[in-house]
Amino acid sequence: MCLGIPGEIVEILPDRPDLAMVAVSGVRRAINIGLLDKETVAPGDWILIHVGFALSKIDETEAKAALDFLESIGQAYDDEIAALRQSMIEQG
């Protein structure tokens, strides 16, 4: 729950500007981007996600480093990704 997971914004949903489709570890999920400055987020940007919300923008290098690190910690990350896969945050 405390893990921040990096994801890449694929698309900002036109009818729900607070939601974006984000690629996270090979999963595409709707993520709430309402806590970021709207003007500054665009497809291709990397974000750090906590419990379905993007809390900060990060650069690609940091995203890759964070992913490497998360993969190294094993179970806790697997659990978080499994939970994310099952997440039902609406898709629009």
Partner: protein, 375 residues
């Protein structure tokens, strides 16, 4: 050394370790607290303690939200879950946290409808799909997760959803650090400041620690190199007689935090006068409740809450572990009666809890300590 073998930046790490050692005054004992459970996890996983000179001890702090939930609150949540027509939801980490009378998993086995969710928004979705039920989200976490709960309440409000509420157990990190600073048990030289919490609150709230207590705090990232780097920054401050807040994790943490997230918390929640922390006791203004304007989303207004206080089992020494007074393996039941499968205390439940992190990764270090004391 596992850390060096595994880690791609072994050379950098070695260089950092050498600089750390060079900065230590021989014979001086340095105690740095890593506040955040994520750091504890990294430290044990990568065997970082083996890597530091013997002068430097890292002590683990209270920054594991699951670990600090008092038993009474678990019991209250289970009481709500057993009310007719209630679906209780929470994060996976919460499921095995022991209350006075079992955990969520036990309550589920006894017939309560308790569901694990990834996000509070999932709980809201369950509410929409089950208009005949009352869906309660047991909210836990520091300022990292509080904005998500607040945003979900705002969403429920905007959509006019009336069968959703929050059993709020959000805690705030600053009062806990202050309680530790004011506790006579422990002499600390500096803090390795939390990373993700600081994404929300920024670095300013820590300034009193440097100013009033004269202790450096370095906001730090989660990779092994980040932690070594932060230890170096702390030692540099101490060597130069400085105490400042520094941001080692500026690539993620803005100095002023996330204003929108803070505004969401402010809008929806208010500080409780006091809140019980497992092992630490009552700490003033250390937790959040749903504010009056959103009272209809506050499970504590909707349901009758027993609110009993349950003393921790006498064998449990989580309080000492959470304050950094004891190392996990010094607890009498560590690894015997208390394991991740059958946790007695909360520090054994979450992967960020010091006892669980140590149980999973730390045995090497323990062997070393044993050897050292035998000699």
């Amino acid at each position: 050394m596992r850390f060096v073998d595994e880690y791609r930046d072994a050379d950098t790490a070695r260089a950092l370790a050498a600089r750390i050692t060079a900065l230590c005054e021989p014979g001086r004992a340095y105690k740095f607290m890593e506040v955040c459970g994520g750091h504890t996890h990294t430290i044990y996983k990568h065997g970082l303690e083996d890597y530091l000179p013997p002068e430097v001890t890292l002590v683990h702090g209270p920054g594991c939200p699951v670990c600090v939930i008092p038993m009474g609150r678990v019991d209250d949540a289970i009481h709500i879950a057993h009310q007719p027509g209630v679906i209780m939801t929470s994060f996976g980490d919460m499921m095995r946290v022991p209350g006075g009378d079992g955990s969520f998993l036990d309550a589920k086995a006894r017939g309560a409808d308790i569901r694990m969710v990834y996000s509070p928004l999932d709980a809201l979705k369950i509410a929409k799909e089950n208009p005949g039920k009352q869906v309660v989200f047991m909210a836990i976490g520091f300022e990292t997760t509080a904005p998500s709960t607040a945003m979900t309440v705002l969403r429920a409000h905007a959509e006019g959803i009336t069968n959703f509420s929050v059993f709020c157990n959000h805690v705030t990190i600053i009062p806990a650090i202050k309680a530790i600073l004011d506790s006579p048990d422990l002499r600390l030289d500096a803090f390795i400041g939390p990373g993700h919490v600081s994404t929300v609150i920024g670095c300013r709230p820590y300034e009193f620690i440097a100013r009033d207590y004269g202790k450096p705090l370095v906001v730090t990232g989660f990779e092994p190199l980040d932690i070594l780097h932060s230890v170096l920054q702390i030692l540099e401050q101490l060597a130069q007689g400085r105490s400042e807040v520094e941001n080692q994790y500026a690539r993620v943490v803005p100095w002023d935090g996330n204003p929108k997230a803070l505004a969401a918390i402010d809008e929806v929640m208010e500080l409780r006068p006091h809140f019980e922390w497992r092992g630490l006791g009552f700490i003033s203004h250390s937790a959040l409740k749903v504010g009056d304007r959103y009272a209809r989303y506050d499970a504590e207004q909707i349901f009758e809450i027993p609110g009993g206080r349950v003393a921790d089992p006498t064998s449990c020494q989580c309080g000492e572990v959470l304050k950094g007074v004891l190392k996990p393996w010094e607890c009498k039941v560590f690894g015997t009666a208390c394991t991740p499968e059958t946790p007695i205390g909360t520090c054994m439940v979450s992967s960020e809890g010091a006892c669980a992190a140590y149980y999973n990764f730390g045995r090497f270090t323990r062997e070393r300590v044993k050897e050292a004391t035998r000699r």
